[in-house]
Amino acid sequence: MCATCGCSSETILELHEHNHEHGHDHDHDHSHSKTRTVTLEQAVLARNDALAERNRKWLAERSILAVNLMSSPGAGKTTLLERTIRELGAELRVSVVEGDQETVLDADRIRATGAPAIQINTGQGCHLDAKMLARGLQTLDPPEGSVVLIENVGNLVCPALFDLGEQARVVITSVTEGAEKPRKYPQMFRAADLVLLNKIDLLPYVKFDVDDFLDGARRANPGVEVLQLSATTGDGIADWYGWLRARLP
């Protein structure tokens, strides 16, 4: 770059005229290209959000309740789904969209309960997005008035940012993970309509401060509803079923 006038062989931001009276040769080829600034003021995720709105409309037209379940790996999402389908599947006509990076293991577990399930493998992706859900819904073709439970990729960070078009978001944490999860992942808890604290049957065996967990969750999301349950023993599960029934269109 010319130290005096700032012109260079690379692009210059503004077209400018100047006298080249300073002492050096301009043997380099410099085109003073003009650029212009265009204001976009556009949401980065606008495309996903538009697709999510389309999903939401599609679901509403069919009176289908879609719930997005998010948690870290191993919090018990699939076990909760299995029990929910076994006990409520016939009443609510539940079908499932399974998101995982790899394998069809979870969809196989769900199908073993008799519920229709579709597996979406995200490969390198760490979350489901609205386009993936649209594809899943198209393949699944859930009946009017039914319930679609979406099991997102096990991850407490990325899924929080991506609207799928669901009516509600549920975050599941288990007592074996530690009570600090809401403090470590406030974005996820902030995005939740409901928090489920799972595996409470293990509370006598682990160091888990329920009050501290509740305090963290409410700091991240004041007023968020928290239900405590065990998907294995069924303790507290009736409250979860009540929550689901109350949201049916």
Partner: protein, 110 residues
């Protein structure tokens, strides 16, 4: 790492809006409470823009800090993370800034 998809969304959105125009600079707003790590977006940017109209463009990221208004006492305060309470002890707050995730402007070859 969702910053990869976020950066892909940026490139896609700019290409959709600007067509074939050669992009020289992209200016993003990524709030400090948005859940997106600006440094990770910078890391992904060169990789994702390769072979697109954004290749070689510079990336500017503005990071608005978090601000909130307490719904109980009305005070406005700075929020460095989502767990900060109002001085009155309330967690019931409305976020005013910090969650931005948008493309503010681009500079294109005229």
């Amino acid at each position: 790492m969702h910053e990869m998809s976020i950066t892909q969304s940026v490139v896609q959105a700019v290409c959709d809006r600007m067509g074939d125009a050669q992009i020289r600079r992209v200016c993003l707003e990524i709030g400090t409470l948005s859940g997106v790590v600006a440094d990770s977006v910078r890391f992904c940017f060169d990789l994702i823009t390769e072979g697109t109209t954004l290749e070689g463009a510079s990336l500017e990221i503005i990071q608005p800090t978090g601000k909130a208004r307490c719904r109980d006492c009305g005070a406005e305060f700075v929020l460095n993370d989502l767990l900060v309470l109002c001085e009155c002890g309330s967690a019931n707050r409305e976020l005013l800034a910090g969650e931005e995730l948008k493309i503010r402007e681009v500079e294109v070859m005229a």
